[in-house]
Symmetry: none
Subunit: 216 residues, 4 copies
DNA sequence: AATGAATGAGCTTTCATTCAT
DNA sequence: TATGAATGAAAGCTCATTCAT
């Protein structure tokens, strides 16, 4: 509750540095135990607060989870600004590669939210908003890539973004289920390949032939 | 009691028609409430049995979920045999399009299992086995497609299958989060497009603009 | 149930060799898990029968326990006949020394029955009967010992038996709680000492001074 | 709330008068129904608390039983100080005479613990500690009796204590199994007799016929 | 704002017992 | 006789939530 109104950013408020700290613990705990599996006591213990205090500030468990979802936003380092469109796209897609504990933890959290979203209207709204924002972001990057000549001009940004994200998402889940190095590396290569396929070759390293063609 | 005569697909439909009936209820209930959210009492009520009986046959809730996962196998109508390789591939990918309540229910079940798998070794093994079988199936279909000239010969079946499934999986989740007609139709088109891109055009309709112009 | 009427002994019947086998398993299981802790399934598994069969023959769990109590009678080797009165007494008291797994198991069974008896009228009757029989047995042995001049003539058999058994019983429980060699040896010595104190010295090995006096 | 001012005996009566109240109920309930027979709901009902509260404070049923065992310590009025050594010994042994409902209840609790101890390492440790403390107490009383000339000087306190307690324990169980006045009176007399046998006659009444005539 | 003891509904699981075969 | 699937009451325990302090 009590979302401060006057401070600027929505992610980290001046008067409530504690709040985000709590929500980060919640995100981690959900990734570790699932939404239903996470208990208020675990949150209390992790944050050093009491269950009473947690409920006092977030109303109830649902409010806490919702707040965590709103706060967790997107995968770490997913949308750092700067660089050419293609390099930004690569960086964004790199956040779908589970090569660090941090990334893996975030995706565990996400898949839990996705599962719950399938049967919870409000959660679904949150998650859909996140996806929409992400898709728009990719669209804009692609559009700018086209303007700069880094991306093939025959592409439609509005059509190309969604499959790209879907592919990345599918690969993320695959890595969640098969958490070995080979799977992670293959996912990374597949995503690089996907970028290569939409690139003109003017700014990207490769424009070669078939994706890793290796047959007779 | 009644020993089914014609089916030879499932693991043990032999003398336990009741068993599979229970597991179908479990699959549905997990899709509806999540694994943690499903209660043994719900299962008992849905099946018309008592909780004692459920536990008598499946050991405990975990055993029940595991059995359901093993039984749920794959998305409905996912791998019906017959037809040309490309049409079989289309049919398989069509099971990732959530255009019926049955499909949607199955994918709700699946995403729940995927979430739980991220933190449960045994579930992960099950799910990984399912994915591996699915990938092999797609690989074989593509290989046969290549042999028959329906699929581009420059493709490597072993490499092409995984991204295809990942794309489809990502789209399935997208449809779960945004369960509207537009999203479903777009997912369907994206998958058809993906098939078109690997087809030669001899057997399937072609839109001509392959991601990159086919090379020598 | 169905106690055969025509066969001779009450302990082992001609037509039902199985019955006593079952009850021995029950005795062992009670010693291992307690009365409440023992389950009908354990009995079924141990005997190779089904729970239905067990209940068919003994009515219910209570009947089974009662039958086991009646059958278990006394500590193993407790009342083998033969030998002089004093040696028979020593042999009987030796059954209170937990120097074998068999004895220890029996006493675990017994203490469980004793605990339950404290709040179960019928069990109490059984146990009291066993104690009475045991006391009479000791009384008779002492009386014969007096007649033969092996036991001090100033003793009253009716008064001396009970404390002797009580001492032995108390020591048995002590050994149950402290199952180490020292405690067992000390119990054995204490009982030998008790026998020595009632003996005249004519037939027993010792009539020495204070019981293990070792001070000053 | 109310911090007791004069008692300093128990472990933690400090700021938890409620705790001991609960444990007394537990002791009584175990005596009445046995450890397995006592339910958490019974405890909740008897104490006026909820099962959640009981588990909140004691962790689980096992923790509750263990706490009760630690708290129950010894038989009521067993070790009140004051008086001559022999009178203190008599008073202590009197706690093995089940002539009041309170005593009987305590011994029912105890025999239940003894039974459970036979197959529970931790319970056994508790019970053994209680027995050791009790034996030491008796040893000290006997030693002081010897110093004061009330107890025969040829006795070894370290050796005499254990049989005395074993005898008393065996009699207590006997009274549990045969809860009639005669048995109780006989137990009382047997114990008085045992005291007489170790007394010199200077301070206590003596029947003169020590088990064996005192030697030079 | 913060606490944590207290709650009680509701969960999974066990188990003696029944009964159609 | 013998079976074992089925039962359902009841157990121990968990946990989000409340509330007096």
């Amino acid at each position: 509750m009590t979302i401060p109104s006057e401070t600027g950013t929505s992610t980290d408020t001046a008067r409530e540095p504690r709040r985000n700290e709590v929500l980060q613990h919640v995100t981690a705990l959900i990734g570790e135990h699932g939404i239903d599996g996470m208990t208020m006591r675990q949150v209390a213990h992790a944050t050093g607060l009491s269950t009473g205090t947690i409920n006092y500030h977030f109303g109830n468990k649902r409010g806490l989870v919702l707040a965590a979802l709103a706060s967790a936003g997107e995968a770490p380092e997913g949308s750092a600004p700067g660089g050419s469109p293609l390099s930004r796209l690569r960086r964004l897609l790199a956040s779908f590669v589970l090569d660090s504990q941090e990334r893996r933890a975030w995706w565990q959290f996400w898949v839990e939210v996705a599962a719950q979203s399938a049967r919870d209207e409000e959660l679904r709204r949150h998650e859909r908003a996140r996806q929409t924002a992400q898709r728009r972001h990719v669209e804009e990057v692609i559009e700018e890539g086209i303007r700069r000549g880094e991306v093939r001009a025959d592409l439609d940004a509005a059509t190309a973004a969604e499959p790209l994200i879907a592919l990345a998402t599918g690969l993320a889940i695959l890595q969640l289920t098969a958490p070995d190095e080979v799977t992670v590396r293959r996912a990374s290569e597949t995503l690089e390949d996907a970028v290569r396929k939409i690139a003109t070759g003017n700014a990207a390293s490769d424009s070669g032939d078939a994706p890793r063609a290796s047959n007779g």
